[in-house]
Symmetry: C2
Subunit: 639 residues, 2 copies
């Protein structure tokens, strides 16, 4: 036995392990968060820790320079324990992953886009009505001549008031009933669920309780989690927040997460990570902002990709990634929320946006619904820029979907100064072609940029390319005060010097970042082309392109075309529709008609498996260039 | 602050309390079991503890003799803490309350009676069928051309096999589905619940799993808890067991329990006591005997009085005992068993036998059903001899019920050598009129009687009375080697000397025991008379009397008449029907028709409140005599 001390954020976590044990595995057992997006196979180089005392059997890998190795840096996934050891774990709260952000719902730009989306759904004649409501009733108090028990007394009154044929009282309501009735003189407010001529009482509150009947909407992404708290009775937004997915330290993409879930106890670890590190904190922050108890949340709708919803529910997910790629469910009956220990009302149910395949999940069915592409005659394309990029092409007669692995670059992952589109992120940028000096904007208009979100990266790459600072391969080809080269010759461009901004570090972009982003945009573009080609079509058929995702509302479509991410069609055909997965899930929660429609769309949507589609890999390789190896596809772009 | 050390069963429980705190309350906070059937009001004298060191501010009460006081005995409910103190807590596992007994289901006498009851129900044309079953299905494994998700694959197959229109898969089943399907080559055994043309899958097991689909039946009494584990598919008994109700230390009767439940945290304490000390151990013992996991129990039916079922569910019970005596429910929708933490299958539901009033509960509706009195033209009386005595009078046209407080004497409570009808209990006895020597039988035919159960007490009192050893007031009027008098002149009769039996104590009965029993039988007899009189009738109208309860199958009806407990009608009109509450709950669980019938009976049964009935108190006082102050009511009894 050896003793391992992890120094994390100023605290010591001490645990015991066997000699020969793997250091990363030991950290995971001790619930110490070490970043391991590749799930510990030595590929990503993110799980570096600094040896403070003791010894590790740990080779120097390509991810660790001589200087770093001499300083004590080791890759934990390749380190074996040989003695008592103390290691320092870097704070992995990189801005893009775990920072909690509670939105200012009076002014947030994303909420304006959300409201436009909602208006679009309403224009199509879809009602925003659901079957949860609160109703106030006053009963006669019992007497010696009127000894009806409490539950019948309430049911009888509710039948009278609501016209229901049958009223049932949930166990949670029954538990409180006797006390609440007597403490509030038989005048109560009931939270009810109406199903045809039946009413089920979820909760009983004193008549003067004015807190809203709340609902929770969650977009559960592989990298980011966004949520809104709503008033179920009028659909109004009570709070909005986002954070990182706590599972990220077990792998950056769905495949590595599934592999981890298949290990002993892995399924429980992943479920716990997303619930305890992401969902519960989100719920607590939003409820605090809205000044309500989480117990006032009576229903929840979640949209996430197929892997995310399997891992959230604690299901065995290996079959999702193994041929023939079979999930436990596409459409799932409502799940009792209590099983997830989120602290919501004990009778709350979870609605899941339906999946249509192992790699096209509820985020896409909800998002495609929100895009309203299914309601128009013109052919349109819906693109969700997430860790997986998913596309839906079609109109009011058919819909076809496909998925490609873009990686986390659109959300700022795999980018040295990348971050989610939250406060402090550079979200747009121009670069003077002569002086090479940038001017940029940040989310929240801060003077101290913290990093760069997806829309900012698109702008920077497009502008560097236009200014001839980088070439079509993304390599630096000019010199200047903002351009640097490291010992290996890797170039980078500094957007903001720390001296100028007072920030803790320079905000810059380097050739590896650009390369990662080029591969992400190449995946999206080649998926677009392969899907259109599979039907014998090309981008000229498109009437509209709806772009969704956490890339940031500042996305500049011209620049996205310039780097070859989006097809070269007239700019007015592009719309950024924000987090459509969240908007779609909101619609499913607050509008019964929307929910029916999403389930119907999911049943009719077809799926194109790109990996078996001829020409996809060639198309991808050809797209990994600025804007593309075939310049004829981008006539509007000056090369 | 003072430190309190409780010495319990050889262990020390140390806790801290404030000076001036009550010792009994401190013990209850520390979860130390001190017997307090009167709920700590100084009335019963059961909460004696022995002071080992330190001081207590504690008066000597009538329950503590000079000698006992000198030895350190104190009544904990009247003791105030004034210094650090160590007290010895007597082991309160009195035989009648907490001894777990697992029945030998191959031969138990009570089970023979149970089977007769079941046969009686079947003869009336009621089917023993319910909607739980197991069904084996084999599916095709998925392929690249057949990518249906697991839940649809199973639902589709079950629709084919069962003919159901709609199949839903519970969350518990969904959680296991992917793994079980793959580990058993897509051949599985499903535990299903059928509701019209819908099927709900509760569990998915490997096809070769042969464990039964189990159900649990519980008779939750104020003093005793009895349970059986059944096979839901064929109704066979898998195990049977009984134990004491762990709530008893918070009060012997329902009123004291409700008072305790109204104190801070009381409701949780009482719920925890019955679940952790009674139900979970019963379930574990029975499942161990039947060699199945408690997770294989998919449904549960419980019959208990109104207070017991409220306290089990953790409901606020004060309104049950306060004018106008309003329970939370009579009929209750099925309760999710998971909320009770019994360790059963997570999708299991609890069916409660319906109450009809605050003092006539599910034990009586289930029991009256099992008696079959509702199916006959003749007028009959059903008597359940529990801590509350409850009676139902009627036939196939009407049913009237009433309740009286008999105390725990019928189950051996409040009797110095009393015990439940389990192994070692004297269950029948005769006494030679000349020599005054007894001969007795014991349950389990042991040579070492441990105590006396209800049927034994009836026999002993009747025989002492016949032999002229006691008079009509229950006082000793003869002398002999088995008759003793203590310092206060209280007489007692020794049935078994410890020297003769090798037991740890003499088994005897004293005047206080006899007095307690006379009051219990007086309550039953006066209730009988008052109910008959309220309809202008007398015992001569009775065609049958069904006697039920934990009094023991050896009950001698002639002796019960002799002591004036049962009316003086021909002996062939009496039947002992055992634990009818348990039989009725068994029928409700295993037979859907029985459940409907019990609910229907509950709705039609009327309730007579004895306390407001003229003459009841006078009738009770008159009945507290052997056999009765009005000897004309018992012409067959020689006085």
């Amino acid at each position: 036995m050896v003793s391992v001390t992890f120094k994390v954020n100023g605290a010591d976590v001490v645990m015991h392990a066997m000699e020969g044990d793997n250091l990363l595995a030991a950290a995971q057992r001790a619930n110490v968060a070490i970043d391991a997006p590749c799930s510990g196979n030595g590929a990503c180089g993110k799980c570096k820790v600094k040896l403070v005392s003791g010894e590790l059997d740990s080779p120097q890998t390509r991810h660790i320079s001589d200087e770093e190795y001499a300083q004590g840096w080791r890759l934990s996934c390749v380190s074996k324990l040989v003695s008592d050891v103390t290691v320092e774990v870097p704070d992995i709260a990189s801005a893009y992953r775990s920072r909690m952000r509670v939105a200012d719902i009076s002014s947030e730009k994303e909420l304006a886009i959300f409201n436009q989306t909602k208006a679009g759904i309403e224009e199509a004649g879809i009602e925003f009505k659901n079957n949860l409501s609160a109703v106030n009733v006053t009963m006669d108090a019992p007497t010696a001549d009127d000894t009806m028990p409490d539950n019948e007394r309430l049911a009888w009154k509710l039948e009278e008031v609501t016209g229901a044929e049958k009223v049932t009282i949930s166990f949670a309501a029954l538990k409180k009933l006797a006390r609440v009735l007597r403490e509030s003189d038989f005048s109560v407010r009931c939270v009810i669920e109406t199903e045809g001529d039946r009413v089920n009482v979820l909760d009983v509150l004193p008549a003067d309780d004015a807190a809203p009947v709340a609902g929770l909407v969650v977009d559960l992404g592989t990298t980011s989690v966004a949520a809104i708290l709503v008033n179920m009775e009028d659909g109004s937004i009570l709070a909005k927040a986002s954070t990182g997915n706590g599972q990220i330290r077990y792998g950056a993409d769905v495949i590595n997460r599934i592999i981890e879930s298949g290990r002993e106890g892995g399924s429980e670890r992943l479920q716990k990570a997303v619930i305890e590190e992401s969902l519960r904190p989100l719920i607590q922050e939003m409820c605090a902002a809205a000044k309500i108890s989480p117990k006032r949340v009576y229903r929840m709708c979640l949209a996430g990709n197929t892997t995310m919803n399997h891992l959230l529910l604690g299901l065995y997910a290996e079959p999702v990634r193994m041929d023939p790629y079979i999930p436990s469910f596409f459409l799932c009956d409502d799940v009792p929320v209590q099983a997830l220990h989120l602290g919501l009302h004990p009778e709350a149910k979870l609605i899941l946006a339906p999946n249509i395949g192992s790699y096209v999940g509820g985020d896409i069915t909800a998002g495609a619904f929100a895009s309203m592409l299914w309601n128009k005659e013109e052919l349109s394309l819906f693109i969700d820029l997430g860790t997986n990029g998913e596309l839906v092409f079609g109109n009011n007669e058919f819909m076809m979907s496909c998925a490609c692995s873009a990686g986390p670059a659109f959300e700022g992952g795999d980018i040295s100064c990348g971050m989610r589109a939250t406060d402090g992120a550079i979200d747009s940028c121009t670069i003077d072609r002569e002086t090479m000096e940038p001017s940029f904007t940040t989310i929240g208009d801060t003077k101290h940029p913290v990093g760069i979100c997806g829309s900012g990266i698109i702008d920077i790459i497009a502008e560097l390319f236009r200014a001839g600072i980088i070439n079509g391969k993304g390599k630096f080809s000019r010199e200047g005060r903002r351009i640097r080269h490291d010992e290996n010759g890797m170039g980078s461009y500094v957007i903001a010097f720390k001296e100028d901004t007072g920030a803790v570090r320079d905000v810059s972009i380097n050739e590896v970042d650009i390369d990662n982003f080029i591969r992400a945009k190449g995946a999206i573009f080649s998926a677009t082309m392969t899907m259109l080609n599979s039907m014998g079509m090309d981008p000229s058929v498109l009437g509209h392109v709806y772009v969704a995702g956490g890339i940031g509302s500042g996305i500049n479509m011209k620049n996205a075309v310039t780097i070859g991410m989006l097809p070269d069609i007239p700019l007015e055909m592009f719309s950024y529709i924000g987090n459509s997965s969240l908007s779609g899930a909101y619609a499913m929660l607050t509008s019964s008609q929307s929910r029916e429609k999403v389930d119907e769309l999911a049943r009719s949507m077809t799926y194109l498996e790109l990996s078996t589609e001829p020409g996809y890999m060639d198309s991808f390789v050809a797209a990994c260039f600025l804007p593309h190896t075939d310049a004829a596809l981008f006539p509007s772009v000056e090369v």
